[in-house]
Symmetry: C2
Subunit: 173 residues, 2 copies
């Protein structure tokens, strides 16, 4: 039986987390069970009662961590793509999920604002969205990430390959 593990992608909105998660899914889809914890399906399934305040996002992250723990301990590769701006949340995740690598998906905030694929930064800068990470809510950069990928300097394929190599070096693959 395979051992599962968790690839935790943290970074600003539009830093490239979803693109990398999709690349990882494509890489493993034919030879490993892999699940991406990303986007609306997870919100609807676990947290349809929650909004986007700090408390609500923390609670959502708590549930995602629990779900990821169950998947990882059952042989699944779990790719979490969550802004997860607080060090405390990520430290808790690392404690709860036995095999976890923290990947900082790094891009300067002005690059993220320029990309803005969902128009969220525009709305946050106009004051229409409150407590938006990087605008009026902090992003606490990882101090000891297992890996940093810089999406303004490398292609998604390069980031995916770096993650796979690091997972091997950590004994997860």
């Amino acid at each position: 039986m395979n051992n599962g593990f968790c690839i935790w992608l943290t970074g600003l909105s539009a830093s490239g987390k979803t693109t990398i998660a999709q690349g990882l899914l494509r890489h493993f889809e034919n030879n490993r069970h892999i699940e991406a914890m990303d986007g609306d399906e997870i919100r609807k399934g676990l947290s349809r009662d929650l909004g986007f305040s700090k408390e609500d996002r923390n609670e959502h992250n708590h549930r995602v961590i629990f779900c990821s723990k169950l998947l990882a301990r059952n042989g699944v590769i779990v790719v979490v793509a969550l802004i997860s701006p607080y060090r405390e949340t990520r430290a808790y995740a690392k404690e709860a999920i036995s095999n976890m690598m923290e990947v900082f998906v790094k891009a300067p905030i002005d690059v993220c604002i320029e990309r803005d694929p969902k128009g969220l930064y525009k709305r946050a800068l106009a004051g229409e969205i409150k407590q938006f990470t990087g605008i009026d809510d902090p992003y606490e950069e990882p101090l000891n990430a297992d890996l940093i990928v810089e999406t303004h300097k490398e292609t998604p394929e390069e980031s995916v390959n770096k993650i796979i190599e690091r997972a091997k070096a950590m004994g997860f693959l």
Copy 2:
């Protein structure tokens, strides 16, 4: 890669769901990934915000169903042990989780009251717990369960074996 599926155990409190779940865990622990959705760990992980009203139990079940779906589609055998008293909830589970067998863990209410391992029936009958299934809240018996096990007539081993045989007949094993 193995195909996962879900064994959904529904029945009154003290009908024997946890005992059967533990028997299934022991049966598969060495050759399959298996996870039991049962008890306090699931409550703490997914629903620490919820109580035991009808609405809260429904919401808890919704989250358990989502989690079970993710596990089952990733090769895991998921054993859900939930009173799950409402037909609507179980029908939703069967729709959401592609490979699911509904097992009615059946025992007469007076047998369950007699067993009462956690003293819950005693408290419910004394009016200390409200909306307790079988006492002042209904248990809607399955009309088309994939299997019925009668825990007042058979041993836990017999129930476990019947479930495994039924899973094979349904093409899950």
